[in-house]
């Protein structure tokens, strides 16, 4: 009898759970509210665990990785110096490009305002390549805005709260970016392949003159999600199946997505 009752209770709970999940999934508004409430409920626990775990983690990481950190710091200083030098050399060209872009009425990313943000949380799941950032709607960040860092496109904003936002990385399985290369006559769509798997482009016509090492940048087509000229990825491998009329590309993102600390949100809204 007792077993029957508990079985019934278990089933009831299960059915109620599925019903609630379905209703919440169908009503996006409730879902957004639920996210905020859930964040509020979990925050004290996150804070407690963070306060305990972070010093311990830093202690172990510091003890083990100290020499690596020092050499990485030296390397970064060297790279920063090189980047500054390159920037100083390139500024006349950049100014010229900006002038031409303005006269042709084409958005130029160098002239677009940006908001610097800090990455607060990495994606907690294996199935989505996302990061949480420290600023949101109150700083003018809106859904769809591109995010850049580390020398290339990182992703785009997919959700915002007043003081935070979620960035979907270009390697996310649901991400796709329109790109071009070389003389800009050919456009491709590149898609994410998951958190650690880079990106790919499939069904590329054989006539397309592309080789490993080619840099791809956003094409900025009308109705596109990104302004033109943002570096997206480099071709790592060109795979041709015998007898096929197209080939597939394996791509490596231009931005180093493993080291995301600070990002720039480009205050640019996709055209309709």
């Amino acid at each position: 009898m007792a077993t029957d009752r508990s079985k019934r209770r278990a089933w009831t709970l299960g059915v109620v759970a599925v019903a609630i999940l379905t209703v919440l999934a169908l009503t996006g508004g409730v879902l957004s509210g639920l996210r905020s409430v859930a964040n509020l409920a979990v925050t004290p626990f996150n804070w407690t665990v963070n306060e305990v775990a972070r010093p311990l983690g830093h202690l172990f990481a510091g003890a083990i990785n100290y020499s690596d950190v020092v050499s990485q710091n030296q390397k970064l200083r060297y790279e920063l110096g090189q980047a500054e030098l390159k920037s100083n050399e390139n500024w006349p060209l950049e100014r010229q490009l900006q002038q031409i872009s303005t006269s042709l009425n084409v958005p130029y990313v160098g002239s677009l305002p940006t908001v610097a943000v800090q990455v607060t949380t990495l994606s907690p799941t294996n199935f989505a390549a996302t990061v949480q950032i420290s600023k949101g709607r109150d700083s003018g960040i809106l859904v769809g805005m591109p995010v850049v860092a580390n020398g290339g496109l990182v992703g785009s904003i997919v959700a915002t709260t007043p003081h935070g936002a979620t960035v979907r990385l270009i390697t996310d399985v649901n991400s796709s970016v329109g790109v071009t290369f070389g003389d800009g006559k050919t456009s491709l769509v590149v898609s994410g392949r998951g958190v650690n798997n880079g990106m790919s482009a499939t069904s590329v016509p054989l006539a397309t003159p592309i080789a490993p090492g080619t840099s791809l940048a956003t094409n900025g087509l009308n109705g596109g999600l990104y302004p033109p000229g943002l570096p997206v990825a480099k071709v790592a491998q060109v795979a041709l199946t015998p007898g096929a009329a197209t080939y597939n590309l394996t791509l490596r993102p231009s931005a180093d997505l493993r080291q995301l600390q600070y990002l720039d949100v480009v205050l640019w809204e996709p055209t309709a």
């Binding site: 999934a25 859930a38 964040n39 979990v42 949380t121 994606s123 199935f127 649901n174």
Partner: protein, 175 residues
């Protein structure tokens, strides 16, 4: 375990679930093994299930899954659904005494957890397909299955012990 005992165990179970969730979100999300996040939010309801308390296991599964889902951009409810399935399956085993820490061989609980950890990502991808998200398989599903199986194997006994402590709270108060 009577209804009153379950009710009394609910509060500690939910508190521990929130702590597990916090560890998942703050520690495990950055501590990736081979690029894979170990899904403690699935192991915890499974461990509670192995104690044989179905209602308690389902509640912990629902809480951990729903709250976890609110922190991701994947289809809402998928993690909760997988957690519910694991919790229910484990509770059926737990009711039969399979995986009991005292009476069964030491390896039974870890092996059961490893099997759960192995198939959970697959179940997630399959459920995602029903939710019309056909891209989830493009991630490294196999490495997720392997890493989670190994991690679940290693963490199964401590988590089940913790689950037993939590579920015994209700009984102790009742006595």
């Amino acid at each position: 375990m009577g209804a009153n005992c379950v009710r009394r165990a609910l509060v500690p179970a939910v508190v521990v679930t929130f702590l597990v969730l916090a560890v998942q979100l703050t520690v495990l999300s950055s501590l990736r093994i081979g690029g894979v996040v170990v899904m403690l939010v699935w192991l915890w309801p499974f461990a509670v299930g192995l104690t044989g308390y179905t209602s308690l296991a389902l509640v912990t599964a629902l809480v951990s899954g729903v709250f976890f889902d609110t922190h991701t951009t994947t289809p809402f409810g998928l993690t909760a659904l997988v957690a519910l399935v694991l919790a229910y399956a484990a509770s059926r085993l737990g009711r039969e005494g399979v995986g009991d820490l005292d009476s069964a061989a030491w390896w039974v609980t870890p092996v059961l957890a490893a099997v759960a950890g192995f198939f959970a990502p697959l179940l997630y991808v399959a459920a995602g397909t029903f939710a019309l998200n056909f891209n989830l398989w493009r991630g490294s599903v196999l490495s997720m299955m392997i890493v989670n199986a190994v991690a679940f194997f290693l963490l199964a006994r401590p988590m089940t012990r913790l689950a037993r402590v939590v579920s015994n709270v209700g009984e102790r108060v009742h006595r």
